[in-house]
Amino acid sequence: MIGPSGCGKTTLLSIIAGLTPPTQGRALVDGVEVKGPGRERGVVFQEDAVFPWLTVMENVEYGLKIRGVPNTERKKVAQHHINLVGLKGFENFYPKELSGGMKKRTDLARVMANNPEILLFDEPFGSLDYVTKMRLQEELLNIWEKDKKTALFVTHDLEEAIYLADRVMVMRSGIICSSIEPEFERPRSQEIKTSSKFQEIRRKLWTSFTSVERI
């Protein structure tokens, strides 16, 4: 989901996550009304949400620990996800000792290890530098490929949206005004960003991004 800042992307995501109550209407996930946050809807935030008082390992096993998963199993699951995001060897580091990209990886591993049913991303790579951002996009796709969970990814970066998504929705003033399905083969590489098809989609999106009329 893309759209200019202030259009309501984050608010919608926050309503789905159950962190913001809707002012009117209801939010349904799989037909069930959202009545507050829950572990079946995992969120990766834009802000740095890694708990600074816990190590990387403790952060990743947090969700498992609070619902009472036994220590050995919890450690195994957490270690698997730490390895997936490329943080092997940093298990006992505190967040203050990590770079911005590594903290984001920790956050990603923490949400994945908790095994939610759907994934919500709120501009998670917005504050990262260009190279780190590209790398994390690739890694996110790699991890996602394994079980292909439903994911709603909010961003204002058109390229990021086209590269990651099956369907790109454009939101303006709180309304989804158009959507495009990029239909690139998976697994995708960064190469597709230079293809003419990619540029074509990008141009279309840009038009709906900036045009005043709603479709």
Partner: protein
């Protein structure tokens, strides 16, 4: 919070690197500073002695703190701190040892009151703060009382506590606890209010219940702010315990100070003040070391 992580040694290494100073320059300057202080003290003491009839009593020379005040403290033995005094006169080494023993004993008494009172105050203060953070009803009920209490100058309540508890030990401990609690409860509420909402949102979306959010997010997140508060509280506790001993105690460094004043013995007063300073430095050092372990992640 950085000061918890920079030990004296790190500061020194940094200073040597940044200002390109000579390796022992810091030590030399420190010694020069202390020596200058002692010399000024000595000169002032000599000057007062020559110009004022009670010069020696107003400011005894530095060395006399050891040679006269320390053995002199031995006269406080055996009820000397209470109503009667001057019944014990010991000479020589025994007087030094007895003086030292009395200083240590009263330091221990004062420190004991301080530690008991502070611990009790911290438990009550943090507990009340956490309860107020947890429940809006509790918060709204207790808040007016807390705000009323926190504006009272602590020492204003000493006569009241004396009236209630007279010379009883529990009175002094409760007084320290009261002052510390009323300070730390505000500190705790403030810290809870400042917990970044992102951590609470993150833990909730990971499946944490309200109780789990409180236990696993709020409490660790407020620790650094509480550590700062606890250090300030302990500094305040010294002043409070001293105040309590001034007015209603038969023992302790505060009593020693006040009884020396009634006998116009400045040397013994200075000796008591030195004891306070040493205890305060020692306790601060220990507390910082303990608290640093709790906040390794900062």
């Amino acid at each position: 919070m950085d000061q918890f992580h920079i030990s004296g040694k790190d500061l020194k290494t940094e200073a040597i690197m940044r200002f390109k100073i000579w390796k022992y320059e810091i030590e030399i300057l420190q010694v020069v500073g202390i020596a200058a202080f002692l010399i000024v003290w000595q000169i002032m003491s000599m000057y007062l002695r020559l110009t004022h009839p009670y010069g020696k009593e107003i400011l005894p020379p530095p060395l006399s703190i050891i040679t006269e005040a320390l053995p002199g403290v031995s006269t406080f033995w055996g009820g000397g701190m209470g109503g009667t005094t001057g019944t014990w006169f010991i000479q020589g080494t025994a007087a030094y040892l007895l003086g030292l023993y009395i200083l240590i004993e009263n330091s221990a008494i004062t420190t004991g009151r301080l530690l008991l009172g502070t611990s009790l105050g911290l438990v009550i203060g943090v507990g009340t703060g956490l309860a107020m953070g947890w429940s809006k009803k509790v918060r709204l009920t207790i808040a007016p009382v807390v705000h009323m209490i926190r504006v009272i100058p602590p020492l204003a309540l000493i006569p009241l506590f004396m009236l209630w508890f007279s010379q009883a030990e529990i009175g002094k401990i409760l007084f320290v606890a009261f002052v510390i609690a009323s300070m730390i409860v505000v500190n705790t509420i403030e810290a809870i209010r400042n917990v970044p909402p992102i951590y609470i949102n993150a833990s909730q979306t990971l499946g944490a219940t309200r109780g789990q959010v409180y236990r696993t997010i709020v409490i660790p997140a407020i620790t650094p702010a509480l550590v700062g508060g606890i250090r300030v509280a302990i500094g305040l506790a010294w002043a409070v315990v001293l105040g309590a001993e001034y007015l209603g105690a038969q023992s302790g460094l505060g009593r020693l100070l006040i009884i020396s004043e009634t006998f116009f013995d400045t040397g013994r007063m200075i000796l008591a003040v030195i004891c306070f300073a040493l205890l305060s430095i020692a306790l601060n050092y220990i507390v910082v070391r303990i608290l640093r372990k709790r906040t390794r992640w900062i």
